[in-house]
């Protein structure tokens, strides 16, 4: 096969030519993988070949080694590992050779391919000579080979986890990288590649950062690089500082003063990409300190893992003025540009984080700036003042803020209607929203909203919804938080008199001509949802009227035909919003007996609409409709059975949707809703559902987050159909057993611990449902053979000492369910288990009420089982 020509054709503008070329590449790959990879790597290495085909060859190689989807990635890795060893070493030789190519693109693609191969082979202890030969390259001339090698080391550190590479090699990599970064390196490209490589290598440097001398050296080189004449190097060096601020927060004390000087110079004088990173350093420090202080829970215990060094508090007098200056550097109309991110935005965001970190201390530093600028003729000053004020509303105490807000409120309401500048209005509406978000309903005696100003606030916000789309969007946002502030208000909310007017205005916004091109429509529906969620019984009749309105809107979207693909996308988005809105309404009306019955008159029609919605292809819409149907089933109860014949196939489709796993996850939850609603009436559908759920469990294509809820769903079904579950018992139990074995021990990071605990919880909920489902049945004895393993699982996870309260509650509940259902058949087994003693006692004295409640249940059930 003439690979060069095919690679050329694969980039042709002629669709047919391109398709043919892609087809033949695919065939080649399937029929002869080693030959395929070899000729691609040969193409990549061949200096006589055109740059276009070399680049594409590298890209295809990369895609033959890695993929986004987990299962696909796994397949590719297996195929590479099984490849003929000679072919592999030939390919690798080609790759290493290409690193010295004079052609930049060829080198750059190659360094990524090498990193992918390393990502597969190094964890298998293969290709041990790789790092050595890369390091020997570094000391070579020419500079371009050095640059490519450093880039490769950077990618390699990104691909491979730190525990795969031994400390000796880590040291050598770091030495090479830091040397490449230092001022003595004359070549800009080499220095830039080294700086970017360090960013990825920082995760490997734990040991080196614990050593004062090595750390001092690395920090000095990074700080020097922030002063490089080359802007890209300065930016990359600040990125390293940002990464260091989170990875090595506790090592920063000796350097923080210098870093403050460097960053504040960069923020004030450097080009924007650099200044943004310099600000990000402080935002990142805030993130760290907020986390630490939250963990303290307000009191310093001294034995926490990471102490707080209060860098922000100490830097406050200099940091805040620096950030306030950035606020005045806003760009014309940046609010209207969806993707905009500039120094004023970054500065304001950082100011908000600083407020959350230090609380009250920030107020006296910001208030003079606000007072000075808020009435200035220049819009940028008014906007900056408003933005500064809005930024500090989360953090300081209500006692400190409310007197200020009471003074500012009238001014802000008038600015929102009268300020000649749209950006000032935008920020004002946003700041009002922040006031409502953080200060309504706070336990301070000073109310912000009184009978006197409530009317005015609502009027101004509704008025602003007719303003430009970005101002209207923020006004909707403010209303969202205003409504939220009165959530849980008993019989009557101060918003009740305006309910109808508010809903009407929001519906009007959704019909604005210019609504399609911004987030405005979404914001309007989200606000409508919140207004409904937080409404009181007084306005229930109005919410009921809204059902028909939203149903009509949804109906209209289903009628429109012959849309362009762009229009269809907008249509789907709207359908998603409408289904979401109906879901909120159903949940609201379904939560009270009185409103539920009034709502029932619409159930048939709503269900009819949802079924039609499923005919449209959009994951978001399906998810929203599914969630709404779950709420509907809960509200309707056993009568939901009449919709099952038609709905079932969509339920099955949802369960089969591995690609859009959110849809699958939501559908699994809805199966639970339906089980509880239908109880034994779900039996006719159980075969299909259980088969699909078991299939899903065994699939490695399904996102793992869906699996715990599937187990919980087993429990829901078992509880609903009771002993009829016998049919599935063997299959369900064997799936549960193997999952239980896998989840007893956890070895991994926090994320894995969290996942394993959610898996345990799902497994345990399944056991609970099964035991309770079989209770009082003559078939109880079917469960006896499974009891020893379940008790062993409980003992196992107890011994691991790493379960969270949720798992603890479910686990001890299972012990009770086992005792309750099996009674004296299991009494000796139970008495022998650790769970029935130490674990039970621990739960009985738990501070968590739910754990304690479950434990008391278990204790009772056990004492009965034993006494019988």
């Amino acid at each position: 096969m003439e690979v060069t020509q095919v690679l050329f054709n694969a980039q042709s503008i002629d669709g047919t030519v391109r398709k043919n070329a892609e087809e033949s590449l695919k065939q080649f790959q399937e029929q002869n993988l080693p030959g395929f990879l070899l000729s691609l790597s040969g193409e990549l290495a061949n200096e006589e070949k055109p740059i276009e085909t070399r680049k594409l060859a590298g890209l295809i190689l990369k895609n033959a080694l890695d993929a986004k989807e987990q299962h696909r990635k796994f397949e590719l890795v297996q195929r590479w590992l099984l490849l003929d060893a000679t072919a592999k070493s030939q390919i690798k030789a080609c790759l290493l050779q290409t690193l010295s190519s004079p052609v930049f693109d060829a080198r750059s693609t190659t360094s990524q391919v090498i990193a992918k191969v390393a990502g597969i082979e190094l964890p298998q202890k293969q290709w041990p000579e790789l790092i050595g030969s890369l390091l020997s390259n570094v000391h070579q001339i020419p500079a371009h080979a050095k640059q490519a090698t450093l880039e490769t080391l950077g990618y390699l550190c990104e691909e491979v986890s730190p525990d795969v590479i031994d400390q000796d090699q880590v040291n050598k990599i770091l030495t090479a990288v830091v040397q490449g970064m230092s001022a003595s390196e004359g070549n800009i490209d080499v220095r830039l590649a080294a700086t970017r490589a360090l960013y990825n290598a920082l995760g490997f440097a734990q040991a080196n950062f614990s050593n004062d001398m090595e750390r001092d050296y690395i920090m000095r080189v990074v700080c020097e690089a922030t002063l490089s004449p080359e802007v890209r190097i300065r930016q990359a060096a600040f990125e390293c500082l940002v990464s260091i601020s989170s990875t090595y927060y506790e090592k920063l004390t000796p350097y923080i003063q210098d870093i403050f000087n460097i960053t504040s110079k960069a923020v004030r004088e450097d080009e924007e990409p650099v200044a943004l990173q310099a600000i990000e350093f402080w935002s990142s420090i805030c993130d760290e300190e907020i986390d630490i202080l939250e963990e303290y829970g307000g009191e310093f215990t001294g034995d926490s893992d990471v102490p707080c060094f209060y860098f922000i508090k100490k830097a406050l007098p200099a940091l805040v003025p620096m950030l306030l200056e950035t606020l005045l550097k806003q760009e014309e109309d940046h609010d209207q540009d969806e993707g905009a991110w500039n120094i004023a935005m970054a500065g304001g965001t950082c100011l908000g984080l600083v407020a959350r970190t230090v609380g009250d201390d920030i107020v006296p530093l910001v208030v003079p700036f606000v007072e000075e600028n808020i009435t200035k003729p220049e819009w940028k000053q008014r906007e900056a003042a408003t933005y500064a004020f809005g930024s500090i509303l989360d953090g300081p105490s209500p006692e400190k803020l409310i007197p200020l807000v009471n003074v500012a409120l009238t001014f802000m309401l008038s600015a929102l209607t009268k300020d000649p500048n749209s950006q000032v209005k935008d920020t004002t509406a946003w700041a009002l929203g922040r006031i409502f978000e953080f200060l309504l309903g706070s336990a301070v005696d000073l109310p912000i909203i009184t009978q006197a100003n409530c009317q005015q606030i609502v009027t101004v916000l509704l008025q602003s919804m007719k303003d430009t789309p970005n101002v209207a969007e923020k006004a909707c946002g403010a209303l969202y938080f205003l409504a939220q502030g009165y959530d849980g208000e008993g019989e009557s909310s101060p918003l009740t008199p305006f309910f109808q007017e508010i809903v009407q205005s929001l519906l009007t916004v959704t019909h604005r001509e210019d609504v399609g091109d911004s987030r405005l429509r979404t914001a309007a529906y989200e606000t409508l949802n919140e207004v409904v969620r937080c409404s009181t019984i007084e306005t229930a009749p109005l919410v009921l009227q809204l059902v028909a309105v939203i149903m009509m809107e949804l109906h209209n979207t289903l009628e429109s035909q012959k849309l362009s693909s762009d229009e269809r996308e907008k249509q789907s988005e709207l359908q998603g919003l409408l289904c979401g809105c109906l879901q909120v309404i159903i949940q609201k009306l379904g939560s009270s007996e009185t409103t539920k019955y009034a709502f029932m008159q619409y159930a048939d029609q709503i269900m009819g609409l949802f079924l039609r919605v499923f005919a449209c292809r959009s994951a978001t819409v399906h998810e929203e409709a599914m969630l709404a149907i779950g709420a509907l089933a809960y509200a309707i109860g056993a009568d939901f059975a009449k919709y099952m014949p038609e709905f079932y196939r969509y339920l099955e489709m949802g369960l089969q949707n591995f690609e859009e796993y959110q849809v699958c996850a939501v559908t699994v939850g809805v199966v639970g809703d339906i089980s509880r609603a239908l109880e034994e009436k779900i039996v006719p559908y159980c075969d299909g559902i259980m088969t699909q759920l078991l299939k899903n469990l065994s699939s490695n294509q399904l996102h793992r987050s869906v699996k715990p809820p599937i187990f919980s769903c087993f429990g829901d079904i078992a509880l609903a159909v009771e002993e009829y579950f016998e049919k599935y018992l063997m299959w369900a139990m064997s799936a549960l057993q193997s999952a239980a074995d896998l989840s007893t021990h956890i070895a991994g990071d926090d994320e894995l611990v969290e996942y394993t605990n959610s898996l345990r919880n799902g497994i345990l909920e399944a056991y609970s449902g099964i035991f309770q489902g079989f209770k009082n049945s003559p078939k109880t004895q079917l469960l006896i053979p499974y009891a020893p393993h379940i008790l062993q699982f409980l003992d196992g996870i107890y011994m691991e000492k790493d379960m969270d309260d949720m798992v603890m509650k479910t686990a001890i509940g299972v012990l009770g369910d086992l005792a309750d259902t099996l009674g004296n058949h299991a009494s000796s087994m139970i008495q022998q288990s650790v769970s029935s003693k130490d674990f039970l006692n621990e739960c009985l004295s738990s501070e968590d009420l739910l754990v304690k409640e479950s434990a008391q249940w278990a204790k009772l059930a056990i004492s009965r089982a034993i006494s019988v």
Binding site: R232, G488, G490, G580, L627, S768, G813, L849, K859
Partner: protein
């Protein structure tokens, strides 16, 4: 390697409303699953045996109880009985209906005048509305109708009835009130007090309970107008001694609620669950708008109806203890309609009505209509049939 983008959300909420909807759904599903499990754990068998098992396991329970003073033992017995009510208030489904139906004290229909009426009895005008149990505990209040279904779930000024009062009561503080919810003014009229602030009044006389009710309810602030932490107003009803003037006041006096008959309570009676002749109800067109059965639309059916329970020997009985036999059901009907022992069946009373001899039912002209509403938990009492006849 491209520069790293560190942009943060600008003027936007941290989570989208869609994510919020998703999370709220998950929360609701988790709550429903918990309810379903809790229900299963407390199904009749467990809950009833739990009641009888509680005293036996008392020595064991002492590690949970905080107090060890002698009278704590007495209290803990009452506590364990009440605890079930609180647990049961979380239940769902048919079992909970049965369970709750057994917890309320149910008056018999007044078919004759008790002795010593003037001395030993109270009378008051029954508010029209839904009879329910109101349970406050753990910072929330739940009202359950006679069939166990939840009427409201709300914060109240009752002890332990809302989240704010955390300082004021221990975890064991809770209340159980026997109420009628009056739709028109959205008020819970408290007609009896079963537990107050953790203190059981089951074994107290009506005299004491009414006294306690009147003083404590007012004190708690539960009679105040609704507010943020107190969603519904509670109110006591005016209770009179059953002498001439008391009867007159109850019968004709103006009250802030629509009347639905008169209730008579024996002063010395303890709070007894189920039907009791120590509480009586009287209805006529002067003191009740619901003197006879109405259907769902508020119309009076052409024939009056009774609900009876089918026993295994095909006998149809009332909910009284002991049950009163009303008749026998044809084996044919049982087979055709697939009826089982324990089914509640609705009958119309035919033109023949009910015949009584010496105050005992001799014959009833019953026409089978069908199974009763699913929400129904028990048969009518004998005295209902009797009052129907006397109309």
């Amino acid at each position: 390697m491209a520069p790293h983008d560190n942009r943060r959300p600008f003027k936007r909420a941290a989570i989208s409303d869609q994510q919020k909807r998703r999370e709220l759904s998950l929360l609701r599903q988790a709550q429903n699953r918990r309810d379903a499990q809790q229900q299963a754990r407390c199904l009749a068998s467990s809950i009833l045996s739990l009641q009888s098992a509680a005293p036996e396991s008392q020595p064991e329970q002492s590690d949970i109880e905080l107090e060890t003073v002698p009278e704590a033992e007495q209290e803990s017995e009452a506590f364990s009985k009440d605890l079930d009510v609180r647990q049961a208030s979380k239940l769902r489904g048919p079992e909970v209906r049965k369970w709750f139906a057994r917890q309320l004290m149910l008056p018999e229909w007044m078919i004759d005048v008790p002795d010593r009426l003037a001395q030993d009895w109270y009378v008051f005008a029954r508010p029209a509305g839904k009879r329910c149990f109101v349970v406050s505990s753990n910072g929330t209040t739940v009202s359950r109708q006679r069939n166990g279904s939840i009427l409201h779930h709300f914060p109240s000024a009752l002890p332990a009835g809302a989240k704010i009062r955390d300082g004021s009561g221990s975890a064991q503080s809770y209340c159980i009130l026997d109420c009628i919810f009056h739709e028109l003014d959205q008020t819970y009229y408290v007609i009896d007090m079963v537990c107050w602030n953790g203190y059981s009044l089951y074994d107290c006389t009506a005299e004491f309970r009414f006294y306690w009710l009147n003083s404590k309810l007012e004190e708690s602030g539960a009679c105040n107008a609704p507010s943020h932490y107190h969603k519904f107003r509670f109110s006591a009803v005016p209770v009179y001694n059953c002498d001439q003037s008391g009867l007159h006041a109850a019968y004709t006096g103006v009250v802030p609620y629509a009347k639905d008959g008169l209730l008579f309570y024996n002063k010395h009676a303890l709070y007894q669950t189920g039907n009791t002749p120590l509480a009586l109800v009287w209805k006529d067109e002067n003191c009740s708008q619901f003197v006879i059965d109405t259907d769902g639309k508020g119309e009076i059916p052409s024939q009056q109806q009774v609900v009876l329970e089918l026993q295994d020997d095909r006998k149809l009985v009332t909910s009284d203890d002991p049950p009163v036999l009303f008749g026998c059901l044809d084996g044919d009907i049982i087979e055709k309609s697939g009826l089982h022992t324990g089914n509640l069946l609705r009958f119309a009373i035919g033109d023949g009505g009910l015949s009584f001899v010496d105050g005992k039912l001799e014959k009833a002209d019953l026409i089978y209509l069908g199974k009763s509403n699913r929400a129904r938990a028990f048969a009518d009492s004998y005295s209902k049939g009797f009052q129907l006849k006397s109309l």
